[in-house]
Symmetry: C2
Subunit: 315 residues, 2 copies
């Protein structure tokens, strides 16, 4: 058998694993539950057991293991030390060292990255960001996450906080607090949660007719679907998102001057309609010399994490 | 004699030159005029002549030349190609290749950088940013410039536009256009020009007494001086600057997560007062995990360019 690499994406509920060839081709992918009890002490042993079982299944010896890349939900320093992954119950320790110890291979190449950053790397490696060495990924899900890739590598930052674009302060006179405690963060307007909140605000401030009023509760998807049908209120919600996000991306363009923005997360299922709204506002605000940026929808979905984790080792 | 390196900072009026030891110690510095006529064709030959004369004066042979670093006023690609330096009359060409050709040393290490980026590198190398490998320099002068240093190196970006923080879109319903053509750029509020403009707006919108009203024309320095004396209007101008700039730096902190902000340019002569105003607003908006950033005033003044240019070669 040829040598293998594993890409692991540790989430709060499940751990996604992928087995890859040396050229980054996916051989197999599967999931195991994330056992968070007792400070998440079982998570890494479970990951190692899963990898060892897969190696045996494929008749690959441990010596033929190229390495293991792991994405974790929290800030990660350059050396693989996590700085408290609250969702996993983890404190501060070096994940790479721990994995090498459990698997019993002191020299194994084990690389760790923040999950949002690793997803960005995945999109660059095998997704819609392929070919772009400088890109910024924006994940519009329950919150807003991000990852900055410069010259093909994840930008970690001083304390592992680079790419936290959901917390760029963009709001004006915002009165509600974000989950982080500050007021006016980008994710208060551009996440799925933000879309619903902005829609409710607009509904409360006008009498415009819209099917949203008859719905007991509605989702971000309902708003996007109605906006595509030209519903005035829904369009206004999406324009608000476009203005905040377009302006934030114009700021990012001035700072790191990327070649592409890759838009992912649940909200990105809105596709070209979403790209058009964001790009319109981006063009309005972006500084000329930094404004030649491609906008693309992420293509790997939930697999971006395992692809990116493998790329930590393979690229 | 020991080997020497030259740091050159090409401005629209003068070219500043510095001769450095291999360890970055400044041996001598001087200036020559920038001859911009005929598409600036004399500028690089003048620079080379000045360097050759200095080598002769110091009895250093060309073979003992370590290299030449050059900062230019415009976007620069990674390979040393300038993309039109309008202030010099230059089009698109590779500055490093040209210098090697003129000096007749095809293998000489010649490195080119954008002047604002190079100044940032200078502050990291020998100024108040010393010891910080991840820093963002903000130059508050006639306009607002910037430079991003990551892991000790200048971030250039895809088209040489990284660090153009003066054009981050921060204004709300701004009606005047920035020099770049967009509306609401950071430099419309946080530059010396912006300070005067904001002051005039505030004066026109209120009746508050202030010595500014009696002055025929006033400068940014007048405003800063009065703010330090607690003049209400002047304080309000500086609070406006602090809010726009603090918020913009909080966004930058989310994106690249630097360890320090180095504040330079004419406005930075306001010193600790300025730092206090900016930092107060920064803390109000910055995302917790990215908020542990030092604020320092630049210390190299007009010499940041030659130090940074030498660092392009020496660091």
């Amino acid at each position: 058998m040829s040598r293998k690499c594993f890409g692991v994406d540790i989430g709060g509920t499940t751990v996604k694993l992928g087995c890859f060839e040396a050229d980054g081709k996916l051989v197999d992918k599967w999931e195991i539950p994330t056992r968070k009890e007792n400070g998440g002490e079982n998570i890494l042993p479970d990951v190692v057991k899963a990898i060892e079982a897969k190696l045996e299944e494929l008749s690959v010896s441990k010596g033929e293991l190229i390495g293991i890349g792991i994405g974790v939900p929290g800030p990660v320093f350059e050396d693989g030390t996590v700085n408290a992954c609250v969702n996993l119950g983890w404190g501060v320790f070096n994940v790479g060292d721990k994995v090498r110890e459990i698997i019993g291979l002191p020299e194994l190449d084990v690389k760790i990255g923040n999950d949002a950053n690793v997803a960005a790397l995945g999109e660059m490696f095998k997704g819609s960001g392929e070919g772009f060495k400088n890109l910024v990924m924006v994940t519009l899900g329950t919150g807003v996450g991000g990852g900055v890739i410069l010259d093909g590598k994840i930008l970690t930052g001083t304390t592992g906080g680079a790419g936290e674009i959901g917390h760029m302060p963009v709001g004006i006179d915002e009165e509600e607090a974000c989950s982080c405690g500050k007021k006016g963060c980008l994710e208060q307007y551009a996440s799925a949660t933000g879309i619903v909140k902005v829609a409710k605000r607009i509904l409360a401030s006008c009498d415009t007719e819209t099917p949203l009023r008859a719905m007991g509760g509605f989702s971000a998807k309902d708003v996007v679907d109605l906006a595509k049908e030209n519903d005035k209120v829904a369009v206004s919600v999406m324009e608000t998102l476009g203005e905040y996000l377009g302006k934030a991306l114009a700021s990012i363009a001035c700072i790191v001057n990327p070649k592409a923005f890759v838009i992912g997360g649940g909200v990105s299922k809105a596709g070209q309609y979403l790209i058009d709204v964001i790009e319109k506002h981006f063009k309005e605000h972006a500084f000329g010399p930094c404004s030649d940026v491609k906008f693309v929808i992420a293509s790997l979905g939930n697999d971006a994490g395992i692809y990116g984790a493998s790329a930590l080792v393979l690229s």
